[in-house]
């Protein structure tokens, strides 16, 4: 009994002392959970951050945005991560101030498998009509109209989409809902939606696999998966009327285009962003961090986030993610200083 009290007192003393000087061998562990899409860059960051702060160990479980939101709401983890911003209804359940910290950006690209791989162009409205089941064939006049040059097969389109709930789907349907009122009404926005047509593949790799295997298929995946699998992706018409192929530069342009109207809490959709170079199906991905954290965790989180916004950003393009535009990064730096 006496020993226990002594131990407890010692522990208290150590915690109080810790911020000043962390003793060698003491490792502070931070736990996070959430989105799967940014997992490769996050694990790279947490790894690299150890070279800056060898005494900090950050663990991340990519259990999905939904799980990340639930766990950070219940405070079972130190930070969460999500591909779609939390709704007001979800934020209402959170006790304390929870920040959305944008980290990197990603793009969703329409991929296709047509013999001879003609260059394909798609407008938002056409993409919505295909996913609503209204445009059923590759030789439909609507497809021909935007692709007068391309040699398109005279067969039905095999529509492929995600079957699991995902931030990729959220970004894609958010874009389709913006450009097609009918899509917004019949399908709407969500990480999982009720698709009128199509085959469901599990995960980006599942959709990429199905598209690769099925002749005359059309699907949507994260940019990096299209490139890794050697799938051709279509150029999509942006808000200015230009056809743009998904790329890291196009995504950063989209983010810069919408930086002017950036809300204070960063919960913003950048699909169909203004700007001639903007790729229209782009999205931020966020870390969810409380403003007030227990013990030294806030201080370490603060330090990590500042490192992420500076050195961390340079690691993003190598892994297929677009870094934050400078204006956004500067503004996020200011938000991060409030975290303690």
């Amino acid at each position: 009994m006496g020993n226990k009290i002594l131990g407890l007192a010692l522990m208290c003393a150590m915690t109080l002392q810790a911020p000043a000087a962390v003793r060698a061998g003491d490792v502070l562990t931070l736990n996070g959970a959430g989105a799967t899409f940014p997992y490769p860059i996050y694990s790279k960051w947490f790894d690299e951050f150890r070279t800056v702060r060898p005494d900090v160990q950050i663990n991340y479980q990519s259990i999905g945005s939904g799980g990340g939101i639930r766990q950070i709401t219940e405070r079972t983890v130190d930070f969460g991560a999500t591909d779609g911003p939390m709704t007001d209804k979800l934020l209402f359940k959170v006790d304390g101030k929870l920040h959305h910290i944008p980290t990197v950006l990603g793009a969703v690209v329409p991929v296709y498998n047509i013999a001879g791989t003609p260059d394909l162009q798609l407008t938002g409205g056409l993409l919505a009509d295909i996913y609503l089941g209204k445009v059923k064939r590759w030789d439909d006049p609507a497809v021909r109209k935007v692709n007068p040059e391309a040699k398109l097969p005279e067969v039905p389109i095999t529509v492929i989409r995600r079957s699991d709930g995902s931030g990729t789907t959220f970004c894609f349907v958010d874009y389709l809902s913006k450009v097609s009122p009918e899509f917004e009404k019949t399908v709407g926005r969500g990480t999982a939606v009720n698709w009128p047509v199509g085959l469901g593949g599990k995960g980006n790799e599942g959709v990429a696999g199905l598209v690769k295997q099925t002749p005359n298929a059309l699907g949507y995946v994260e940019l990096i998966y299209a490139e890794q699998n050697g799938l051709s992706h279509a150029a999509v018409q942006n808000a200015e009327g230009k056809f743009v192929k998904g790329s890291v530069a196009g995504v950063t342009a989209a983010a810069a285009g919408s930086a002017k109207n950036m809300p204070k809490d960063y919960r913003v959709s950048i699909t169909n962003a203004p700007g001639a170079e903007s790729y229209p199906i782009s999205t931020f991905t966020w870390l969810l961090v409380y403003e007030k954290n227990s013990g030294t965790k806030g201080k370490v989180l603060n330090e990590f986030l500042r490192w992420m916004l500076d050195s961390g950003q340079k690691l993003a393009p190598g892994l297929g993610y677009a870094p934050l535009p400078p204006a956004v990064a500067a503004s996020v730096q200011k938000t991060v200083t409030t975290i303690r």
């Binding site: 095999t158 699991d164 009720n194």
Partner: protein, 313 residues
């Protein structure tokens, strides 16, 4: 207390008592675990049941955006894909078991059985990959032929995507085949030799011996094997998710994509943000739990009803 004590004498030794309570605890833990699971499923799904009522079971809309949920397409997909798997693997499994037990030389039979049991140990995700790379293109290649010649049946109409109910049924049949074959073979081998020899002595052919002596004797065991296989088929997740097309729609055509209860849980649980969505998924899990429980009860009842089971002490 009474029986064990009476046999051992008046006093029970401490070791015996310890053993008895230990085993009792282990037994209770199994029951407790099942009860806790049922309780958790019930409490985790109460929002869905109070919102939709029993109509949840026969409503066919599944829309996470407008939060309308119904289990029917998943119930249908689970039952049909499992039935399809049994229809394929049942006759094949029992047939191969008869060959291995009655006709093949013992050494070949044992070697074959070894490989069949290895098939049961293949992880389902590996089988799923095999499904994607071999079965799906195969089904896509064969379906136009089926549509042309059997298209008068509603099961063989529609667009051949390659993924869909038929492919799911096929992959499931591969997964459950080893269970049916190896257990049925074991049961057939346990048919007493004198019985078979008596039949042969009376002038029965080999086929008649199998049909009139071996199969009736082994019936309860074979039924047990089939139900064990059905249990696996109902709950199988990964391999099915990879080839079924994951579309919550009910269609008579075997070429159309479908969905199963286990597959929707694997797909949507991680990203379910709203409470009602989560509770609806838990309600699906509860329904699957009840379905397997019902199947097991049915299996018990059928096996107890067979003449051999009644004959045995």
């Amino acid at each position: 207390m009474s029986k064990g004590g009476a046999v051992a004498g008046l006093t029970e030794r401490a070791g015996d008592r310890l053993f008895r309570y230990g085993v009792l605890c282990a037994g209770l833990a199994v029951v407790g675990l099942a009860a806790a699971l049922a309780l958790e499923l019930a409490s985790g799904s109460r929002l869905a049941w109070s919102e939709f009522g029993p109509a949840f079971l026969w409503s066919s809309s599944w829309n996470p955006v407008s939060e309308r949920f119904g289990a029917l397409p998943f119930l249908y997909g689970t039952l049909v894909s499992s039935a399809l798997a049994l229809a394929i693997a049942g006759p094949l499994g029992v047939g191969s078991a008869i060959f291995l037990a009655e006709l093949a030389p013992r050494r070949i039979s044992d070697a074959c059985c070894f490989f069949i049991e290895i098939l049961a140990a293949v992880p389902s995700v590996v089988l799923g990959l095999m499904g994607i790379f071999i079965l799906v293109p195969g089904v896509r290649a064969v379906s136009p032929f089926l549509i042309e010649h059997l298209g008068f049946l509603p099961f063989f109409r529609g667009t051949p995507y390659g993924v869909g109910m038929l492919t799911a049924g096929l992959i499931l049949s591969i997964m459950i085949l080893p269970y049916i074959t190896s257990i049925s073979r074991e049961v057939l081998l346990s048919v007493p030799r004198p019985l078979k020899e008596a039949a042969l002595a009376l002038g029965a052919t080999r086929w008649e011996t199998v049909r009139l002596v071996s199969l009736p004797y082994a019936r309860s065991g074979i039924l047990g094997a089939v139900f064990l296989a059905l249990g696996r088929a109902l709950g199988e997740t990964m391999a099915v998710t990879m080839v079924i097309g994951n579309s919550p729609r009910i269609s008579a055509s075997l070429f159309d994509p479908a969905y199963t209860m286990a597959a929707v849980l694997a797909n949507e649980l991680a990203e379910a943000t709203s409470d009602l969505h989560l509770h609806a998924l838990m309600a699906i899990a509860g329904t699957l739990f009840m379905l397997t429980l019902g199947m097991n009860a049915l299996a018990r009842w059928m096996i107890l009803g067979t003449p051999t089971a009644r004959r045995r002490p």
